[in-house]
């Protein structure tokens, strides 16, 4: 049985490295494969062909990947497009889960405290004056907010803040800051704060949300 399989598709070539074989055997067979390929290709033109490499249910370390890439780089007509695996480490999975989730927070953030959260946050707690809530994604406020609320920390200006922030001292989105005063924000649960086309923090109503950030709805699966 072969440990290295070459497949051709409509939009390119794919090399599958079977997971049942050791790396040493794979490297030997890979070299054989490319020797054959480059012999065949000698007569053809000089175009460079790139491959996607699939490693099935196996993760190669950076070193191992380098070994594979090194072999292919010896043949100047071929190059590696990307190395893909069907699996990921638990650590990566946790980060993905952390970033792609709405976190429920009901804690009290007191003066001087800074709370950093990954992903989107549904905030049900209390944010006291002088406290700071920072999230890498959107923030949906249902609790009392008197401090500084920071969505899209550090530089994601696509993030939004939804909810009643009329008592907050500042809102921040990405690297932008806006000071809240009474005229600007109505005391309403329907306020949406976003960064507009002029790269300025702007205030809207929840009704406009769909046109402001259509992606937000797709993400949740609705239309």
């Amino acid at each position: 049985m072969q440990s290295v399989i070459l497949k051709g598709y409509k939009d390119g070539y794919e090399i599958i490295l079977k997971q049942d074989f050791g790396l040493d055997k794979i490297l030997v067979e890979l070299r054989e494969l490319f020797d054959n390929l480059s012999a065949e290709k000698k007569n053809a033109d000089d175009t460079v062909i790139s491959f996607d490499i699939k490693t099935e249910n196996r993760l190669f370390t950076a070193e191992e990947k380098q070994k594979i890439e090194k072999i292919i780089s010896e043949y100047h007509n071929f190059k590696v497009h990307k190395i893909e695996s069907e699996v990921m480490t638990i650590e990566d999975a946790n980060i993905l889960k952390e970033n792609d989730n709405v976190h429920l927070s009901y804690r009290t953030i007191r003066s001087g405290q800074i709370v950093d959260l990954k992903g989107d946050v549904l905030f049900l707690g209390k944010l006291h004056q002088g406290g700071q809530l920072r999230a890498t994604g959107n923030i949906f406020v249902m609790g009392e907010v008197q401090g500084v609320i920071h969505a899209g920390f550090e530089n994601d200006t696509d993030s939004i803040i939804v909810g009643n922030v009329s008592a907050a001292s500042q809102v921040r989105i990405g690297e932008l800051v806006d000071i809240i005063d009474d005229e600007k924000v109505t005391n309403s649960q329907d306020t949406v704060i976003y960064v507009n086309d002029l790269h300025i923090i702007d205030y809207g109503n929840r009704d406009e949300l769909k046109s402001l950030r259509p992606k937000l709805f797709n993400q949740a699966g609705g239309y």
């Binding site: 009290t108 007191r110 003066s111 001087g112 006291h128 004056q129 002088g130 406290g131």
Partner: protein, 267 residues
């Protein structure tokens, strides 16, 4: 084994020292063995409030550095038999003279002998504060109905959440001006308690006698008829686990004749 309680506030001048002295005295009146520990090093003043300033020989830094034994530094308050003692702060050094481990060692030693160790914390949240909470089992946070004091109390509660003590912190609202609170000119008790979201231990109304008695070295709690003194007595009873209803802030309505009489008063 006793219990160590730190009295703290963040902001200065809200009545930490007065509260420490009065709670300590009230507990001593209820026949608990109490030691008051002044950790406001460099700005010693708990001794004057108790009227014990002329009897200091050694202080807490002497004990920590081994120049004196703990018992030599303790000052007995003769008014309360064997119940109230003071461990004074040092006057001619600063807060960095102690490290948390030293304070903890002293507090642990005192806890073996006393029922309550009341620690008077310096203002601020620096080294002195860290020293003060190091050995404590519980914190009492003193605030006044002012936004600045409440804000600082909030910060201190936050810091205590990061360095949790054995028990949740409790709140004392000091210097309540009845008239102002009734008129809604100052924050009210419920508002402050809800904002800080910690348990309320007691309220103390503002009273001129608190200052005048302190100046004589007599804690206000010795005056059983004074409303501020009563507030501290109630706090002491609550610390012992009794259920004591909260004092009403509302001032009694003046009778008709008193009203008439007040027209003829000079002020």
């Amino acid at each position: 084994m006793g219990k160590a309680i730190v009295v703290t506030s963040g902001k200065g001048g809200v009545g930490k020292t007065t509260s420490s002295a009065n709670i300590g005295t009230a507990l001593a009146l209820l026949e608990k063995k109490v030691v008051l520990m002044d950790l406001d090093i460099g700005l010693r003043n708990l001794d004057v409030v108790l009227g014990l300033d002329n009897r200091i020989l050694f202080d807490i830094v002497d004990v920590a550095e081994g120049r004196a034994r703990l018992h030599q530094a303790l000052i007995k308050d003769k008014r309360f038999n064997e119940y109230l003692y003071l461990l004074p702060a040092a006057q001619n050094t600063d807060k960095s003279a102690l490290v948390p481990e030293q304070v903890k060692a002293i507090v642990d030693e005192l806890k073996e002998e006393f029922d309550y160790v009341i620690i008077d914390c310096p203002a601020g949240i620096e080294q002195g504060f860290m020293n003060a909470i190091a050995g404590a089992d519980m914190a009492i946070i003193v605030t006044t109905p002012e936004i600045s004091a409440v804000r600082d109390a909030d910060r201190v509660v936050g810091l205590l959440e990061q360095n949790p003590l054995l028990q949740q912190p409790k709140l004392i609202i000091n210097r309540i001006r009845r008239q102002m609170m009734e008129d809604g000119q100052s924050m009210d008790v419920d508002e402050i308690t809800r904002h800080l979201s910690i348990d309320l231990l007691g309220i103390i109304v503002d009273d001129d006698a608190v200052i005048s008695t302190s100046n004589h070295g007599e804690p206000i709690v010795l005056d059983s008829k004074n409303p501020a003194g009563l507030g501290y007595r109630n706090i002491a009873r609550r610390l012992l686990g009794e259920t004591v209803p909260l004092m009403t802030i509302k001032q009694p309505q003046k009778g008709f004749w008193k009203k008439v009489g007040s027209w003829f008063k000079k002020d």
